[in-house]
């Protein structure tokens, strides 16, 4: 649907209003990171300062959660990259019995609320007497990241089509050579985009993590604790900015990587 007609004024205002509604809170976070007030969320801020960045930098309790979050995000998106790509490749190959079931299975971990994924894993750990560790966090994250990679890869596989792969085999390449020289270069940017989105999703995840982390603290869990029992509010604001940027940059990169292709990354969250 596309029209050359001019939109009604009310619609334009409502649409732009909607967009502003989506962005205004994020802008506010940036403002609050510079406030001089550290006991309340007073607006407008009584004064502005940059000291909180230095304070946050020197807070020893921020670094371990940051490292843990980075490690978890890297491991989960790596795993999701492998599993999601394999699944997409299989789905691109042929129509086979149970296709719909498989695509449902892939989507389920993000279609169902995070609390279910989290509580399910928690139940399984309880039944299996599995102690909490980085591994238990990754288990949960990789599960819901698979679909992100899968969605990106499936669209690209579809565009790659069968004839390119046949041409490669026809010219003497075995399956592995075809994968390395034809599939991978054509899939590369879609996979990179999928991996980045998965990274962003994992880095930011808090609901599933609270069920699978035990006593460990990722950066979002650290933030959650600060929100419930604030100590230095502006430091939390600074960390919020860091988390925001750490998720924002991969998303933007993913957008530019897949721009122009008819499928653009991110629709599948």
């Amino acid at each position: 649907m596309h029209s050359d007609a001019r939109p009604p004024l009310a619609l334009t205002l409502a649409a732009i209003g909607g967009l502003l509604f989506l962005h205004m809170p994020i802008v506010l976070i940036f403002l609050y990171a510079f406030t001089t007030e550290d006991r309340s969320y007073q607006f407008p801020p009584p004064g502005l300062t940059t000291e909180w960045f230095a304070v946050a930098w020197n807070r020893a309790d921020i670094w371990p959660p940051l490292y843990l979050s980075l490690r978890v995000a890297a491991l989960s998106s790596g795993l999701a990259l492998v599993l999601g790509t394999l699944c997409a490749a299989a789905m691109a190959r042929a129509r086979f019995f149970g296709r719909d079931t498989i695509s449902l299975l892939v989507v389920l971990p993000i279609a169902l609320p995070g609390i279910i994924t989290g509580m399910s894993l928690r139940s399984a750990f309880a039944i299996g007497d599995i102690p909490f560790s980085t591994f238990t966090i990754v288990l949960g994250h990789a599960t819901f990241c698979i679909v992100i990679v899968y969605n990106n890869a499936v669209a690209r596989f579809r565009r790659l089509g069968a004839s390119m792969l046949e041409a490669s085999a026809d010219l003497g390449a075995n399956s592995f050579q075809t994968f390395r020289h034809v599939i991978l270069p054509n899939l590369g940017s879609a996979l990179l985009a999928g991996g980045m989105l998965a990274f962003a999703l994992s880095f930011d995840e808090v609901i599933v993590t609270t069920f699978t982390a035990g006593q460990q603290s990722t950066l979002p869990i650290w933030m959650l604790n600060e929100l419930v029992r604030p100590r230095q509010r502006p430091v939390t604001n600074v960390v919020a900015i860091v988390v925001f940027v750490a998720t924002f940059l991969p998303i933007l990169a993913a957008y530019y990587l897949t721009r122009g292709a008819e499928e653009t990354a991110g629709g599948g969250k």
Partner: protein, 339 residues
């Protein structure tokens, strides 16, 4: 001499669709072999049976006497020029052409030299650094050709390689392909649904109909002596005469074909009729003539009429004119028992 390709009662069925059905074929080494037939008649499937992208439901495909039953496409000494060219978009033209050598482990310097040679062969010297997206349709087609030929295949398969080209380019490429084939001595198997292309380029033609081979022969065989009504009609739109009509035209009671260009307008000819239509073709005019004696038969594609080709330069009677038709005795070609 062992034939280059041999089909022994090969079938390929997709569920209820008999894409290829009990086909026997022999393609001699060094020949230019055309597979001709309407859309959906099984030509592409036959080609894919040779290249290995389809496996026979039953029967055997042999290449130089060797059963291909267990040989995957990448190990067959056969290469394909795909209908949509299937060039690799992420590689330069040179890399595309060198691809087959690369996967065989030929070192970069020699494979690129070979690629350049091949590009020169298809008259694309200097295009090696471009991407396929930067080429015209005809140029892409040549790249696809060079990319296949660099592997020195013993059989080259071409699936409607000229289908996407405009008429002029098409004719130029027909000549080029033909001379290339003669120079290299490689067996070419060429799929087309254009009968002119098949007749002018091939040494032998197989006409396909609904997954079966209706006739195999030289272009002259196919054109002059069609074995079935289908061949007669599909190749050059011949007049197909039902047995009763053949009899009325002075032949025996059997199916026959009569080429439009074999018929002359001559006063005192064998059959009289009325011109009901005329279509100017440039090289001549095609008349539709209704002969009074002609009964309508359901299988008669010319609607009870008979097509006559009047060569350019000759006088063309107008619609409604009374004419008499004549032909040499040998022009009436009788076809075997109709399947």
């Amino acid at each position: 001499m062992t034939p280059a390709v041999e089909f022994q009662s090969v079938s390929r069925h997709f569920g209820a669709v008999k894409a290829v059905d009990r086909v026997d074929l022999t393609i001699a080494e060094g020949s230019f072999f055309a597979m001709l037939g309407p859309s959906g008649s099984g030509k592409t499937t036959c080609l894919r049976l040779i290249s290995g992208f389809e496996m026979p439901t039953s029967g055997a495909v042999r290449i130089f006497g060797e059963d291909m039953g267990t040989v995957p496409p990448n190990r067959r000494h056969v290469n394909t020029v795909f209908q949509d060219y299937a060039l690799f978009p992420h590689m330069s033209v040179r890399e595309n052409v060198a691809y087959g050598l690369m996967v065989k482990g030929v070192d970069r310097r020699s494979r690129e030299a070979r690629a350049e040679e091949m590009l020169a062969l298809v008259k694309l010297d200097g295009f090696g650094g471009r991407r396929p997206a930067q080429l015209s349709g005809g140029q892409r087609q040549r790249v696809a050709l060079a990319r296949a030929l660099v592997n020195e295949p013993r059989v080259l398969l071409l699936d409607e390689p000229l289908g996407a080209l405009d008429l002029k380019l098409r004719e130029a490429m027909q000549d080029e392909l033909k001379s290339l084939q003669q120079r290299l001595g490689i067996t070419f198997v060429f799929v087309t649904h254009d009968q002119g292309e098949a007749l002018s380029m091939a040494d032998r033609v197989a006409v396909f109909n609904e997954g079966r081979v209706a006739q195999v022969g030289t272009p002259e065989d196919i054109y002059e002596r069609p074995a079935t009504r289908f061949v007669a009609d599909f190749v050059g739109s011949s007049n197909v005469l039902a047995p009763a009509v053949t009899e009325a035209f002075g032949g025996p009671r059997a199916w026959a074909s009569l080429r439009p260009e074999a018929i002359r307008l001559a006063p005192g000819g064998r059959v009289r009729g009325t011109v009901t239509g005329a279509r100017y073709l440039g090289a001549g005019t095609r008349l539709e003539v209704r002969t009074g004696a002609l009964p309508r038969t359901p299988s008669d594609h010319h609607d009870g009429g008979i097509a006559v080709l009047v060569p350019a330069g000759a006088a063309v009677p107008g619609v409604g004119a009374e004419v008499a038709l004549d032909w040499d005795a040998g022009a009436l070609h009788l076809m075997g028992e109709e399947p």
